[in-house]
Amino acid sequence: MDSLRLDRLGKHFGGIEAVAELSLAFAPGRISGLIGPNGAGKTTVVNMITGLIQPSAGRITLAERRVDGALPHEIARMGIARTFQNVRLLKEATVLDNIVVGFHRHEHTSLLACSLGLPPVWRERRDFRAQAHNLLTRFGLVEFAARPAGTISFGHQRLVEVMRALAMSPDFLLLDEPAAGMNDVESRNLGAIIRDLAADGVGIVLIEHNMRFVMEICEAIHVLDSGRLIASGTAETVRRDPAVIRAYLGG
């Protein structure tokens, strides 16, 4: 199994333990939720997996390959994609170009060929643009293709970010609050998209505060509080867990 595994992962910033002794396994084709109150360490976990910050302890592996210690772009090339809590699109670029950038992992032309504009460069460009167009069509946003990314609605920007991550054809996709700022219809559409991805074999790690959304689509839910795992299980078991109710859901 090509799981993404966290093994006794820990991170402290000075004296503050942001994450401690966290062991989890995310399976391909499965939707796992990572929930917990603000400051529980969820985004820190995602940042450690994607190499933006180095863990203080423990290890991260993908299919037995060591992930921690690698550089962010190397981790991306291993097949781990992410979105950001506060949407980070290239605002000057068009919606289409934002997605095309995501295909970088599939680029095979050398720097020299690229500098000289040899035919494969243009083939690749055409190919990436066509695929980006297909993604936009599939997500129902094709009419915005030529718009500067900063000018479309916030919910749509989140979707474009998801598409950009998908352009990498990742094995694992880490979504940091993808439904934040979306209305009910939009988040339901997003839910359907995420289920389709999982059905295609992509392992999904979902950080989200919208409980209805999480409970509806996640097959496994892990609850963090103050950097520690306090519960794991299906939506039903987590919802009834007294520790979770006390720390997060509230009575």
Partner: protein
Amino acid sequence: MGNLVATYRPLFDLICIYAVFAFSQYVALRAGLFSLATAGFASIGGYAGAYLLKETALGPVLSGVGAILCGVAAGLFLSLPLARLRGAFQAIATIGFVQIMVSLSLFAAPITGGALGLNAIPKVASSGLLVAIVAVLMLLLAVINRGGIGRAFDAIRQDYTVAASLGISTNKYSRYAFALSGAIGALGGCLLAFDTYSIQPDLFGFPLLVFAIAAVILGGRSSVAGPLVGTVFLMVLPELARPLADERLLLQGALLIVVIIYWPRGIVDGLVRRWHDRDAAQDPQARRDRHGLPAA
């Protein structure tokens, strides 16, 4: 008529050469580097080209190639410590590089001629050659912009973290940009030596550094035509206002401030933007047609 050409040909040549400097700066900015090293690269290219042409039997073409290779080497060398730095740190370190090159050219008198510079360099550059070089350079940069390198540059410039999260090696592309900026800057320096008979250290100092960045910001950082338009503007304006020619630097600085405040995208990108806005104000179907999209 013949008189007019004779009068303005030197200015025309200089515009072509200084446009090359602007392109060297443009590549760095486009790639998200805060490098101000162009003047230093120009110095290396100028002295290397002039030295090879005068003291060896390589001939103009190979001397030029040698100068460009020296620029590439300098760019790669600078990128070793600087590709990992960001923003202001890169700017300060590259200003230091320019100052070192000025000092080196003053002190390495056996090669550079010291403060007197190198003189009696054979004039091997013609106006036609200069135009051709600028045209080829613009074509090359346009090609680079549209392919994978341009996409990587855009991503790194706009959001470093996002670029890395998409698998883009920011180090690799920063190194490439330093090398390319070095090559183009050295080419410009070499052309200056091949066109104007003599070079001195003060040609490649702080004023050139300011000129290069001013030309790109004035003309536009995004479109390939930007640096060229910025150069023309900066070179022609003092000629038009002859009485102010001595205050060239002052004029340049004042213009830069005004443009940054009122037209931050620069002349070319500002115009392009305006055209797009007008385009967006038209009826939706005309817009869709223009972008080749099917009817809604």
